[in-house]
């Protein structure tokens, strides 16, 4: 007890030194005054008493000093000495400090960003109450095991009668035309993702509205109420965060909806790898939100509803599934026609819903896997590098430490000094890593695929990972800094001047075996990362190096969805005609037409064509990409006509069916013949006959996954589409042209919002963005790893140059040329680098094998990758070794000999 109190008193004295000083002054004063009083009482004259008291007390300053000393000022003084000593050491070895700072800074920062990105895809729970209690309910074909989504009637039965869940809700979604009236009277519109949900959706999730209210049971009836809940982002962006947004009116697909509330910040719906909804509407409004899909509010044995439920207390997923499966069998018995073989599957939905039957976007999954692998590899490389850097100093420090120990410095004291030093050395690196926080936002666009609706992964920075990486790397610095102290403690005074000449190979001052091993494995790891990155980049861009086949310059695109607006085919075609007629009259416009999909749209469409006697086909048909276009689309899209003619307004519904094909499609269907005038059938031999009227050059419509540019262009008037992209070739500026086009559309239908307005060049860039996110991650890690590994190699060579200065001096004195010195010193470093490279290449080949499935048309042993990566690395190795070695080559022999 009293020991503790004593400790407390000491601690107080250390951390509140001014308190201790004040107390001391008061005590001294009290003592002297008491003594003076005492002396006066004894009869000493007042004038003498003070002097006598002071004499009896002794040297005030001396006592004060010895108290301060005892109090722990000494502890601080020592610390100050340690810090000063460490700073001096850092100033003497700026290279070491820079290397540690770069290693830690890059590692902490990049790991924080990348892992945050991966984390938000794979592991972040949906921001609702107890997300671990959520589960998804899918139908499961009891014969094939395939999972699917629910029909409305089955869902209602499950909700009301199965007892499997504490609460259960359903959702389905799609794009809608959203128009927000502005105060000025005009309106701003866009195509956005809408989620159609059952009225209890938010209450099952346990989400609280940021503003207003969510749906209630009163919103349930079929044909329900035109209410809408906004996402937090939509509220911020489209309603300028209006606090009185509840009650405001907006238009969805032309119909008025009233805003009831705003979803909580960060809530992006329940889709794990899907679009972020901007609006939620009650399921009763489905006929307006999805005019093209009637009958969604009925049906059994499968449908369009994703179902999410909250587990009952005490139920786990297995038990819930057992109960649900029981109920599914009851439904099967009751409705054998629709529900035969319809079982269920219950899956945890903590991080969101995902139909396991739908293949996950491979790029995202691959990016994530790469991210995790990269993160771990970078962490390893960081630690290895810090070890290399610290061990590099061990040899030179061992002597210094031995001397200090023999002079009576205690081991604890020494340890503390090394600790202070390593913490100081780590500080700037940690700071640099933290500064990466500012990079997270600007980097996000490169990591997030561009799709027609917002998808995203939220804040990409993960503080926990940054903290983790930071802590691990500081621990590494500290750990390896203490090695010399431990070693010195063991071997006492051995590392003396015994090998002062520094000659020979057994002097223990060449890079240690551990250090060599570390450098080699670091290089191997970064080579593997680089190869993965390169394979990834190559597979994404292999096909992109060729020309696009169309001219993207001086073109703008802008899309409309008239189907959502309730247009039928007649009205839709009339609208398209009106738009084209008016747009072609706008100033500067050279050509305009419709296309869907337009080049570098994210969607694509296909068509099956039958040709008599088609080679290499089981049933005489092949699949081709299809684009549904307006008349005179060839100049509008900037395609090149090879033969035949463009579509004209006369290629109408009443005429015989026509199509224009790409070179590749023509060659596939009729090898070696001119395709003009030849005939194919849609779908099969019994399908409608279609005549080729033109052939255009192959064009690239998508960045990813397009293995064949076989494409058929079909006239809108014969194959109607209600979602089209207007492509305008213009001499005017894109901004002015788009404004003019918007005016034309607003004049024709003020409640129809055009969306996706951009230049064709932007569209092309966006098309590549999806793959770019994976490429960005891969390249990030590859380059980062390489950089760090190079720092390590540089450090090793630089270190050995310093350590062998005397040896080199002797060699120079004995006639070795500077060239010889250079070669001599480079040999060691280069050997390490090359061994690492060899191991890395082997590992890279193995990794490439496992990536085979996702490399689009690329051999895992891609020769370019396996030539470029090693050559690039060889250059890096050379630079990392030449730079420090050159310094040695310039040595003055005499100075070098005196260097110790």
């Amino acid at each position: 007890m009293s020991l503790l109190k004593g400790l407390a008193a000491r601690t107080r004295a250390i951390f509140r030194p001014s308190d201790a000083e004040a107390r001391l002054e008061e005590e001294f004063r009290f003592h002297l005054e008491s003594e003076i009083d005492h002396l006066i009482r004894e009869g000493v004259p007042a004038a003498d008493a003070r002097r006598q008291a002071l004499v009896a007390f002794g040297a005030v300053e001396g006592h004060r000093e010895s108290m301060r000393d005892e109090r722990g000022a000494r502890w601080f003084d020592d610390l100050r000495v340690d810090v000063r000593y460490a700073l001096r050491a850092m100033r003497r070895h700026p290279g070491f400090v820079v290397a540690v700072t770069l290693t830690m800074g890059l590692g902490i920062g990049v790991n924080g960003i990348i892992f945050g990105f991966v984390n938000s895809i794979l592991f972040r729970p949906v921001p609702v109450q107890q997300p671990e209690e959520l589960a998804a309910l899918f139908t499961r074909d009891t014969r094939t095991g395939n999972t699917g989504v629910f029909g409305y009637d089955d869902f209602i039965d499950f909700r009301d009668r199965s007892g499997a869940f504490a609460g259960v809700a359903a959702m389905t979604g799609g794009p809608v035309n959203l128009v927000v009236p502005q105060s000025a009277g005009n309106a701003v519109g866009d195509l956005v993702w809408a989620e159609i949900v059952t009225e209890d959706f938010f209450s099952v999730l346990g989400a609280r509205p940021a503003i207003g209210r969510f749906f209630t049971a009163a919103d349930a009836p079929q044909g329900g109420n035109p209410f809408v809940v906004l996402s937090y982002d939509a509220w911020q962006r489209r309603f300028q965060a209006d606090p009185n947004v509840a009650g405001r009116v907006l238009r969805i697909n032309g119909s008025e909806f009233v805003v009831t509330g705003v979803a909580p910040r960060g809530f992006k719906g329940m889709r794990r790898l899907g679009f972020w909804p901007e609006v939620w509407v009650p399921i009763g409004m489905q006929p307006i939100v999805q005019p093209g899909s009637p009958g969604l509010l009925h049906g059994r044995g499968g449908g369009a509803l994703y179902v999410v439920g909250r587990l009952r207390p005490g139920f786990d997923v297995e038990r819930t599934e057992a109960v649900a499966a029981d109920f599914a069998r009851q439904l099967e018995a009751a409705y054998p026609a629709s529900n035969a073989n319809v079982g269920v599957s219950v899956l945890p939905a903590k991080v969101g819903l995902e139909n396991p039957a739908i293949i996950k976007p491979q790029i995202l999954m691959l990016s994530s896997a790469l991210g995790i692998f990269g993160s771990l590899a970078v962490l390893l490389i960081i630690c290895a590098n810090l070890a290399v850097l610290q061990l590099g100093r061990t040899a030179s420090r061992a002597r210094e430490i031995a001397i200090r120990l023999s002079l009576g410095c205690s081991k604890g004291r020494l340890t503390r000094q090394l600790l202070v030093e390593s913490l100081l050395v780590s500080a700037p690196g940690v700071g640099l890593g933290m500064a990466a926080m500012n990079l997270a936002s600007p980097l996000e666009p490169y990591l997030t695929p561009k799709l027609p609706f917002p998808v995203g992964f939220g804040p990409t920075l993960d503080l926990r990972v940054m903290f983790f990486t930071g802590a691990i790397s500081i621990a590494a610095v500290v750990f390896f800094s203490l090695i010399p102290a431990v070693r010195a403690g063991r071997s006492r005074l051995v590392p003396s001047s015994a090998n002062g000449l520094g000659l020979g190979r057994s002097d223990g001052k060449r890079p240690s075996r551990t250090r060599k091993l570390l450098v080699v494995s670091q290089f191997a790891l970064s080579v593997i990362l680089l190869i993965a990155a390169s394979l990834f980049v190559r597979s994404m861009t292999m096909a992109d190096t060729v020309n696009l086949g169309f001219e993207p310059r001086n073109r703008v695109v802008l899309s409309v969805n008239v189907g959502l607006q309730g247009y039928d085919q007649t009205r839709g075609l009339q609208f398209y005609d009106d738009v084209l007629r008016r747009v072609r009259l706008l100033p500067g416009v050279l050509a305009a037409s419709f296309a869907y999909p337009a080049p570098f749209d994210t969607n694509d469409r296909g068509v099956r064509l039958y040709v008599d006697g088609l080679a290499n086909s089981r049933d005489g048909t092949i699949a081709a990409q299809a684009t549904f276009v307006g008349d005179e689309f060839i100049p509008a899209l900037g395609l090149r006509l090879q033969a035949g003619r463009d579509f004209t307004p006369r290629d109408g519904a009443a005429e015989s069916l026509v199509m224009i094909v790409s070179d590749s499609l023509a060659n596939r269907l009729w090898p070696g013949k001119s395709a003009i005038g030849l005939r194919a059938h849609y779908g099969s031999v019994s399908g409608p006959e279609v005549t080729v009227v033109g052939v255009v050059a192959d064009a690239k419509f998508a960045a990813v996954g397009e293995v064949t540019p076989r494409r058929a262009y079909l006239p809108l008037k014969q194959r109607y589409r209600d979602w089209e992209t207007l492509v305008v070739h213009t001499r005017d500026t894109p901004a002015r042209t788009l404004a003019n086009v918007r005016e034309v559309i607003a004049a024709l239908d003020p409640s129809l919002p055009p969306f996706g307005a951009m230049t064709m060049e932007q569209a092309v860039a966006n098309g590549f963005a999806a793959s770019r996110s994976g490429v960005a991650i891969a390249s990030f890690f590859g380059l980062l790893a390489l950089l760090i590994a190079s720092i390590g190699l540089y450090a090793v060579v630089a270190r050995s140059v310093v350590e062998r200065t005397r040896e080199m001096g002797v060699r120079i004195a004995l006639g070795l040329t500077p060239r010889g010195v250079l070669a001599h010193l480079m040999r060691d470093g280069a050997r390490l680098g090359l061994i690492g490279l060899a191991f890395g290449l082997a590992g890279g080949l193995a990794l490439g094998r496992t990536m085979t499935g996702v490399l689009l048309g690329l051999s895992p042993a891609d020769p370019i990758t396996f030539i470029v990566v090693p050559s690039a690395l060889t250059i890096v190795i050379l630079v990392a070794t030449v730079v420090p070695a050159r310094r040695a080559a310039r040595l003055d022999a005499v100075a070098a000999l005196r260097s110790e």
Binding site: A13, E27, M67, E70
Partner: protein, 112 residues
């Protein structure tokens, strides 16, 4: 590089500690009082440098042998009063034993 401080207290330091603990074993006192008591107990024969009491007091407090707190004296003045702790009493007992043995040994040698 300053050498490591030795753990063994020098004889004077040790005896001051002993005297302080002895003085405080009777009652709580302030610094001047302790000095006066030591003088009185030694019947004026031991002339300790008064100021050197204070580093010793601080050391004893940090060691947990004594405690201190502000109190008012009979003259109504604020002073720091020191109290011996249980640990301090144990320490005093052991030190006294040691001291007695030590002085006996010395007497044996010197007088013998």
């Amino acid at each position: 590089m300053p050498g490591h401080r030795t753990a063994e207290p020098d004889p004077l330091r040790g005896s001051i500690d002993l005297l302080i603990l002895k003085a405080l074993s009777l009652e709580a006192m302030h610094g001047w009082g302790i000095g006066a008591r030591i003088q009185q107990m030694s019947r004026g024969r031991l002339d300790v440098n008064q100021g050197s009491l204070y580093p010793a007091l601080q050391r004893l407090e940090h060691r947990g042998d004594i405690e201190s707190a502000w109190r008012t004296t009979e003259n109504n003045r604020r002073a720091r009063f020191y109290t011996i702790t249980a640990r301090g009493r144990r320490e005093l007992g052991e030190e006294l034993e040691k001291w007695k043995r030590f002085s006996k040994t010395i007497s044996l040698i010197v007088e013998g």
